[in-house]
Structure formats: structure tokens, C-alpha cells
């Protein structure tokens, strides 16, 4: 029975979700990291809540970036370790479909989780609730883009010694436009200026990355698995 690309996609997403939920503690780690890092800033800077909102967008985004990076290591690692990745590659489905499925599943359990937790963090940082819509949208677009950049980086660094340091070194420079525009969007929402430009740019980055990154990530996997 040959499996079509869509079927393969859903099968893999389903598998990834089931595997992820088998170890809920693993899912919580990036979230807890996100919360801890965001609390470090107000503690370290001892600012009043009203002043905190000035740095809040940047703090939020840096924390989200770091939390996502933390979880990217697991994107391909466990499958590469036990040989599943090679089996998937040999399955004839084409690495691109597999990569898209794994990355989407990864975003659902990490990026999306960060987005859902962000109102709590936003409140803790003094971000006013009427900026929440922009904050959520910008984080959703940003974490999705980041998952894709991370997929490329993860594909290149599977199995390397100190792979996660290299992964961060590769992904962070590529993610700086995200950081700049994501934080800018939230900042403008807080100050009441128009967020349309920043959000359009974030969306453009997201679309650009989502269309090209799968091929780059599949190529990266091919290089690693050869």
C-alpha cells in the first residue's frame, strides 16, 4: 500500500505528537525555561512594573528565542540516534515531507505552547492587555519561523560534539530580523502606534522561511545521513 504525501504528513505529525506527550516533562521544560528567563530580567533590573513594560517586548522575545533553541535539539536527535531517521529517509516518501511534518509537529508542541503561555508572562512583565493580540500574533509567526530556521540548523548539527552550541551559533544570526521585528511589533502595540508594518514584515519573513526552509532542511538531513 503506497502512502500519499498528505497521509504520510499526518501520520508523522500524529506520531510526533504521541511521542511528545508520552513524556510530558519534556514538553514542560522549554515552557518553564521561558518563565524562568523572563523572571530573571525584572529581578535583575529591579524595575517598577510600569517601567518594565518598556523592556518587556525585548525580554519576551529573547526568552522565547532561547527557549525555542533549547528544544530544537530534540527535533531530529532521538530519531537519528535510534536509526528511525534513516528508515524514514529510505521510506521513499521524500525527506521534504518528513521534515515538514516533524517541524510542524515540533512547533505545535513548543512554539505554540510558548504563544499560549505568553499572556501570563506578558502580564508579569507589565504588558497591557490591549497589546496582547499583537503579542500573540507576532509570537506565533515568529516561533513558526524560528522552528524552520532551527530545523535547518538541527539538520546540520545532528550528532556533532557540542552540537547545541553550534546550533545556537547558526540559528541566532539568522533569527535576528525576527527578534527585531517581533519586539518592534509588540512595542508599537504597547505605545499605541500602528503595528501593521511590523506584522506584515513578520508574516513575510514567515512565509519566505516556510516556503524555502523545508528544502534547505531536507538538504541538511541528506548531508548528515549520507
Amino acid at each position: 500500500m503506497t502512502v500519499g504525501a498528505w497521509e504520510a504528513f499526518w501520520l508523522i505529525v500524529h506520531r510526533e505528537m504521541r511521542l511528545s506527550f508520552r513524556r510530558p516533562e519534556q514538553l514542560l521544560q522549554p515552557l518553564v525555561f521561558f518563565l524562568i528567563v523572563t523572571t530573571l530580567f525584572p529581578l535583575g533590573l529591579s524595575l517598577r512594573l510600569s517601567l518594565l513594560k518598556d523592556i518587556a517586548p525585548g525580554v519576551l522575545w529573547v526568552a522565547a528565542l532561547l527557549a525555542s533553541l533549547l528544544s530544537l535539539d530534540s527535533l531530529f536527535k532521538s530519531d537519528a540516534d535510534d536509526g528511525t531517521l534513516e528508515q524514514l529517509a529510505l521510506s521513499g516518501q521524500g525527506l521534504t515531507v518528513i521534515v515538514v511534518a516533524k517541524t510542524v509537529a515540533h512547533w505545535l508542541v513548543t512554539g505554540l505552547a510558548l504563544v499560549l503561555v505568553s499572556p501570563i508572562v506578558g502580564t508579569a512583565l507589565g504588558i497591557p492587555t490591549d497589546a496582547f493580540a499583537t503579542m500573540l500574533l507576532s509570537l506565533a509567526l515568529g516561533t513558526l519561523t524560528l522552528s524552520w530556521l532551527g530545523a535547518i540548523g538541527a539538520g546540520l548539527t545532528i550528532g556533532l560534539r557540542r552540537g547545541n552550541v553550534l546550533l545556537s551559533l547558526i540559528v541566532l544570526p539568522l533569527a535576528t530580523p525576527l527578534l527585531i521585528f517581533g519586539a518592534a511589533a509588540t512595542e508599537r502595540a504597547i505605545s499605541g502606534a500602528s503595528v501593521v508594518g511590523a506584522l506584515y514584515f513578520l508574516a513575510a519573513l514567515c512565509v519566505f522561511t516556510c516556503t524555502l526552509a523545508p528544502f534547505a532542511a531536507a538538504a541538511a538531513l541528506r548531508i548528515t545521513l549520507e
Partner: protein, 244 residues
């Protein structure tokens, strides 16, 4: 007619070309840079706005152009190596990375020294400066990735992919002054109305630009020899090549 082009895929041929070209490129580079420096530092008149400080343009602008050009060369060589599996491409990419990184550092430092008297600050988180800094990080990332693999061939391919992915930063660096409100000056040489600089200031700049490009070519020749030797160590032609 295109044989000279196809031969470039052959490591011994590239090695031979590099050995032969290097001295000429160094000499030409030295001449162009010498003229550029003398004319730029001593002959060109001072700028009516920036005074003598504008002369830093003769170090800053050529290095900036080179930092971006070398990355592009590295990305193109990487793409060629990945798509057509021409190993010489990896040698050129690996040879170009440290040169490009050094030019990027030169750009950042010379720009910083120019920024202090002109803008009052050694640094600003401005789109052009930031994207140039990211370019430096990308160079470092490519070099680190290549050296992290035990299998050099795999390292070459991984670094090549990263170089190609990172090339999106190149248009960002170039167009940052157009797309955003930048502290940094806009385009003055390549504009629709022609160069905005008088000839006495422009010619030394063009000469420095040419000199730096020739210098890159010369250093590339040296480094490419080393990279080709490392990748072709087992081949028979290496024995003869080293004797020289």
C-alpha cells in the same frame, strides 16, 4: 571555447592557476592600493562637511564592499559544489571564509572609528551596522560548522549549505540603507544619477576598491592551494606540485 571554464573543475588545474596568478595579483593589488592611499590621503581635497575625517572612506568602503562580495563568492562556490558536486567549489569556499571574515571585522572597526567623530558614537544598533555584524557571525558559523565535522567532506557540505542559506543577509546589508531610516549614509557611488562624489575623491576610492579585490584574489590563490592540497592529499599530481 568554454574549455577554460570546464577545466576550473579540476583540482590540479586550479592549483596551477593559483600558483601562477598569485604574484601578479599581489603586484597589481599593491599598485592599486598604493595609488589609492597616496591620492586619497594626500592629494584629494578635504570634505567640506567632514574635513579630513572623510579620508577614512578609503579604508572603510572598500573593506565593506569586499566583506559582502567575498561572502557572495563563498555562497556561489558552495552552491556550485553542492549542486554539481565539484569539490573545487568547497576549496574556494573554505579559502574565502577567513578572508571575508577579516574584511568584515575591518569594516566594523574602521566604521566604528569613523562613526565616533561623525555621529558621536562608536556603535549604533542601526540596520546596516547590525546586518554587517550578523554577516560576521555568519562567517564564524560557517567556519565553525566546517571544522566541527570529523569527516571533512561532510563538513564541507554542511558548511556549504549554511553559506547558501546565509546569503539572504547580503541583500539585507546592501539595501538596509534604502529600506530603513538608517543613521548610515546611503549610496554615493552606484546611484541612478551617477556617482555623487567629485573625481578627485572618487578615483582613489575606486582604486582602493580594485586594490582590495585584487588583494582578495591574491590571498585566495594562496589559500586555495592549501585547501586543494588538503582535499587531494592522496592524489598522484600532488607529489609533483609540492616539489616546486
Amino acid at each position: 571555447m568554454w574549455t577554460w571554464f570546464y577545466k576550473l573543475a579540476s583540482p590540479p588545474h586550479v592549483f596551477g592557476v593559483a600558483v601562477a596568478l598569485a604574484p601578479w595579483l599581489f603586484s597589481a593589488a599593491a599598485l592599486a592600493i598604493a595609488y589609492g592611499l597616496i591620492a586619497g590621503l594626500a592629494i584629494a581635497p578635504p570634505d567640506y562637511q567632514q574635513g579630513e575625517a572623510f579620508r577614512m572612506i578609503y579604508a572603510h568602503v572598500p573593506s565593506a564592499i569586499l566583506s559582502v562580495t567575498v561572502y557572495t563568492v563563498m555562497a556561489v562556490a558552495s552552491a556550485v559544489a553542492l549542486i554539481w558536486r565539484i569539490k573545487v567549489g568547497h576549496a574556494v569556499a573554505a579559502a574565502s571564509a577567513p578572508i571575508g571574515a577579516s574584511f568584515t571585522l575591518m569594516t566594523l572597526v574602521t566604521g566604528s572609528l569613523w562613526g565616533r567623530p561623525m555621529w558621536g558614537t562608536y556603535w549604533a544598533w542601526d540596520p546596516r551596522l547590525t546586518s554587517e555584524l550578523i554577516l560576521l557571525f555568519l562567517y564564524v558559523g560557517v567556519m565553525s560548522l566546517r571544522s566541527a565535522f570529523e569527516d571533512p567532506a561532510r563538513g564541507d557540505r554542511a558548511a556549504a549549505l549554511l553559506a547558501v542559506v546565509g546569503v539572504v543577509n547580503v541583500p539585507i546589508v546592501h539595501f538596509s540603507v534604502v529600506w530603513w531610516n538608517s543613521l548610515h549614509q546611503g549610496a554615493t557611488i552606484v546611484t541612478l544619477e551617477g556617482p555623487k562624489m567629485p573625481g578627485s575623491m572618487l578615483w582613489p576610492l575606486l582604486s582602493m576598491w580594485l586594490g582590495f579585490m585584487l588583494f582578495y584574489g591574491a590571498v585566495l590563490c594562496i589559500r586555495v592551494q592549501a585547501e586543494v592540497l588538503d582535499r587531494e592529499r592522496q592524489s598522484a599530481w600532488v607529489r609533483e606540485a609540492i616539489k616546486s
